[in-house]
């Protein structure tokens, strides 16, 4: 596996990607492309927060 360059801020990167995905999901919902259940939001946010925390931990180890 190619190592991640050290200058990349892993936490911001993962959080940014997660936020982009969240925005895209809202956009698709608004456009009617997908129809989400009401309970999806909490699960998605919890999963994103978990991924960001893992990334943050990995970033701290790299430093």
């Amino acid at each position: 596996m190619t190592p991640i360059p050290e200058r990349i801020d892993l936490t911001s990167l993962v959080a940014g990607v997660a936020i982009c995905i969240l925005g895209a999901v809202i956009l698709l919902q608004e456009e009617g492309t997908i129809a989400l259940e009401a309970g999806w939001l909490l699960s998605a946010v919890a999963a994103a927060a978990g991924v960001v925390l893992v990334a943050s931990g990995m970033g701290a180890r790299r430093r």
Partner: protein, 429 residues
């Protein structure tokens, strides 16, 4: 900071056998020797020749009853000069800009008027208001700063490797540099800690208000069909975060917060499919005949809608169909007492009261099919996203209020067993 109350930079004169607490004062000064924060309580106590503890208890009590004590203390700290130790004010002393700013904010906060968030407009600081939040946050920050300063005192260095630690370290050095007496300086004096804690607490409270406002705007925009714009902003913030991450700039991590403040309410509204389509305002409809009721019914985005059917020529055995649709607000339908209501009413969140029969909560509904009889019938098909649907046999004003104000304080007036009994009698005819 021009005001350095706990760092005496002038030699302390010899004390007479009669200390400053014992001799009469001509003017009010902040005490130099009897101070816990700025010496206000000590100065007042000496001025009035009373126990300073009593004055301090008075300030705390006045703070709990409306925040006046805190504001008064800060104002007195600004306007009252320091005692130079001889009973005279210190020459050329000016209050610090920090102190003036915090005192001004405190005074504004306790005044009635639009100085705080919408929840507290017109009430100022009082029980359960911003004062408590400010005290809790300020207390927590003060405790944190105190513990860090003490840790620094014990050789811990006061830093944890990040910028904050350096800040504390430099503040400590500043305190040490100001101590000209040659004694070891006390790290982080109580007054400066309190000021920092208050300033941070004010920022937190203001930040929470701003976040709540942004979240409300995001939810409103999504509910009114502008969710794509919110989603676009969220995606742009996410892309900006990715960009800053790729160049290794960690300073923009705070963008995560506004992104979530925008995305979470928008996502919740989108997922719950709450839509405030249509107009905003108050609508009153009084159709003169069944034919004049539009087949698609009446709809309103946000506000209050009243459909008064009491003037309709109701004939025995005949049915009239009515459809209403509302985003956020209140729908009131008034019918004559002799009309049997056949409801199919749903509320995504809120309350439905059909002639005294009430249901409320999430996905509330009132669906009934009374047996057909000779009584005229209203076939009601009513939907609301958030708010109240009320069907009454009285005047609409009984539900909406004379001034057409709607809100939870009026909603429960429609829960009426007597009206429920009248409705049952109408359907049994």
């Amino acid at each position: 900071m021009n005001n350095t109350p706990d760092t005496p930079d002038t030699p302390k004169p010899p004390q007479s056998p009669n200390s400053e607490d014992d001799r009469p004062r001509r003017r009010l000064l902040r005490s130099r020797d009897d101070r816990m924060l700025a010496g206000v309580a000590g100065g007042i106590a000496a001025h009035l020749s009373v126990d300073p503890t009593l004055v301090r208890v008075g300030f705390v009590a006045a703070t709990l009853f409306g925040g006046l004590g805190l504001a008064a203390y800060l104002v007195l700290a600004v306007v009252t000069p320091n005692d130079d130790g001889t009973g005279s004010p210190v020459e050329g002393e000016r209050p610090s800009a920090w102190l003036v700013a915090v005192a001004a904010i405190a005074v504004l906060a306790i005044l009635p008027g639009p100085f705080w968030g919408p929840a507290h407009w017109g009430s100022g600081w009082f029980w359960g208001g911003s004062l408590w939040l400010l005290l809790i946050v300020g207390g927590a920050v003060w405790l944190f700063l105190t513990m860090r300063d003490r840790r620094a005192d014990h050789g811990g260095g006061g830093g944890d490797g990040d910028g904050d630690g350096d800040e504390i370290g430099s503040a400590t050095e500043e305190t040490q540099a100001m101590d000209a007496s040659g004694k070891p300086a006390r790290r982080g004096d109580g007054w400066s800690r309190l000021l920092r804690a208050l300033a941070i607490a004010v920022l937190v409270v203001v930040g929470l208000n701003v976040a709540a406002a942004v979240a409300g705007i995001s939810a409103w925009a999504t509910a009114t069909g502008h969710g794509a714009i919110v989603a676009g902003i969220v995606i742009a913030i996410g892309a900006a975060l990715v960009g800053t991450a790729l160049i290794g700039d960690r300073r923009w991590r705070w963008l995560i917060v506004p992104a979530l403040v925008l995305a979470l309410p928008a996502g919740a509204i989108a997922a719950a499919d709450i839509r405030f389509d249509g107009d905003v305002g108050e609508r009153e409809y009084t159709p003169a005949s069944a034919a004049s009721i539009p087949a698609e019914g009446y709809s309103l985005g946000v506000g209050q809608m009243t459909v008064d059917l009491r003037q309709l020529p109701w004939r025995p055995g005949r049915s009239v169909a009515l459809r209403t649709e509302m985003g956020l607000g209140q729908t009131v339908v008034a019918v004559p007492e002799r009309v049997c209501v056949d409801p199919d009413a749903t509320a995504s969140a809120g309350e439905i009261v059909v002639r005294g029969a009430r249901s409320s909560g999430i996905d509330a509904e009132q669906v009934d099919s009374p047996p057909e009889g000779r009584a005229p019938r209203l076939l009601l098909d009513s939907e609301i996203d958030a708010g109240q649907i009320a069907v009454t046999d009285g005047p609409p004003e009984a539900v909406t209020g004379e001034e057409h104000r709607f809100g939870p304080d009026r909603w429960h007036q429609a829960d009426d067993p007597a009206e429920r009994a009248r409705a049952q009698r109408a359907c049994e005819r």
